[in-house]
Structures are given as structure tokens and as C-alpha cells.
Amino acid sequence: MTLLRSARKHPEHPTESPHKEERNDIEHVRHMAELLNGAAKDDQIRVVLWHAAGNSFSAGNDIEDFVKNPPPPGESPQSQLMHALINIEKPLVAAVQGAAIGGGTTMLAHCDFVYAGESAKFQLPFVNLALVPEFGSSYLLPLRFGYTAQPS
């Protein structure tokens, strides 16, 4: 799905492994939190570039994974990723191609620069799945869009 690449000052080294899976599962969420926390601590890393390794930025969470590993209310890989996104002080640059569904869209609200390919598609399908928004998006998106603005 996505690849976090770290831009060092001289030269730029891609340091992290790509994820080909387009859907998030608990392992991928855990891995992304580790990458962000690692980048936050590494003095050599100045910027994080976040882009698709496959055709889609993020097709959303794996529904079967929600059934198998439903996130608990407290500490979880998901909450660790949320805190990693909130806490990182280095700039996050996102490049969105293809689909950015659910977390693929809400996580963008934490990025400093977001570039989208002209054919990119976004969706916040939470209520359709009887779920609610996450990654702080219930606060950040009404603030950013205006409360009554509708994406579509």
C-alpha cells in the first residue's frame, strides 16, 4: 500500500520497505507507526515522503481484519499510529494516487503537504459500515472543511 521514504539532507536515501497490500491490516498499521516513530527519532531524517507502493494510496482498512482484530478502546496499533502522526515534528509530504479510503483520507489531515494525482478518489465511508470517523478526523475535518460543507 504505502511507502514511507525518508529524505535526508545529502543524499536522499529511500530507507523503508514498501507495502504492496492496498488494504490496511493490523500488521501494516503497526509497521507504519514504527516507521514514523523511527523517523521522528533519527537525526539524519528531515522529511517523510509518503506514497503508494502499488496503484492505490490506501484502499481502506481490511474489513476482515476489523472482524478478526477489532480495535479496543485503549492502546492499540491504531492508537499508536495516531499518536505517531500527531507527535512527529518533521514534515510529512503525501502523494495520493488512486484510492484513499477511510484512514487513507483521514490520515491526510495530519500531513503538511498533500499532493493528489488528478484521478485520485477519496472517501470517508465510516457510517456506511456502521462505524465512526477516526484519526482525529471528527475534530480536524469539520474545522478544515466547515461544519456543514459536504465532500460530495
Binding site: 472482524v67 514534515p91 488528478e118
Partner: protein, 90 residues
């Protein structure tokens, strides 16, 4: 709340996206920005981000905590089970 898809230009209008670019130059554009940022004085860049995000931080953390509690409840609900089932069979 309707959960319908939207496109890149709408995302830019809403302020979710900085810039819409042709698909083929997407990664080059993002990389160019990442490089430009990497050339700036790192401590100043990070302090700048910290300052710009400071005002939202406390409320953002509260929102995340509350969302996780409600999400955990919803994801285990009968409505969610039904929706997941419908999704898997779609």
C-alpha cells in the same frame, strides 16, 4: 456523513489537498517538495510545525481518545457485523 466518494479537485477545494497534479508527475512533485524541505534548517522547520499545530493539539488528543472509545463500541455492534457481512458479499 453520507460517506460518498469525492475527487481530487474537491479535496483541494476543501483544503485536504495542497495541489492537484497530473498523475504522471505526482511523485516527482512530492519528491521535489520533500527535497526542498530537507534543504531548510531542520530545527526551524520542526519548530515552525510545532508552533502551527500547538493550538489544536489538546483538543485533537481528546478527539482521538473519544473516537477510539466510540469506534471500539461501534466495531463490535450488530449494525457493524451486518454491514461487514454485506460488504464482504458485495
Amino acid at each position: 456523513m453520507l460517506g460518498r466518494p469525492f475527487d481530487a479537485s474537491r479535496a483541494a477545494q476543501l483544503g485536504l489537498v495542497t495541489q492537484v497534479v497530473p498523475d504522471q508527475s505526482l511523485l516527482a512533485t512530492a519528491t521535489e517538495t520533500a527535497r526542498a524541505l530537507a534543504e531548510k534548517p531542520a530545527a526551524a522547520v520542526q519548530a515552525c510545525k510545532r508552533l502551527m499545530k500547538r493550538a489544536l493539539r489538546e483538543q485533537l488528543e481528546q478527539a482521538v481518545k473519544l473516537e477510539n472509545e466510540v469506534f471500539a463500541e461501534r466495531v463490535r455492534s450488530d449494525d457493524a457485523k451486518e454491514a461487514f457481512m454485506a460488504f464482504s458479499h458485495a
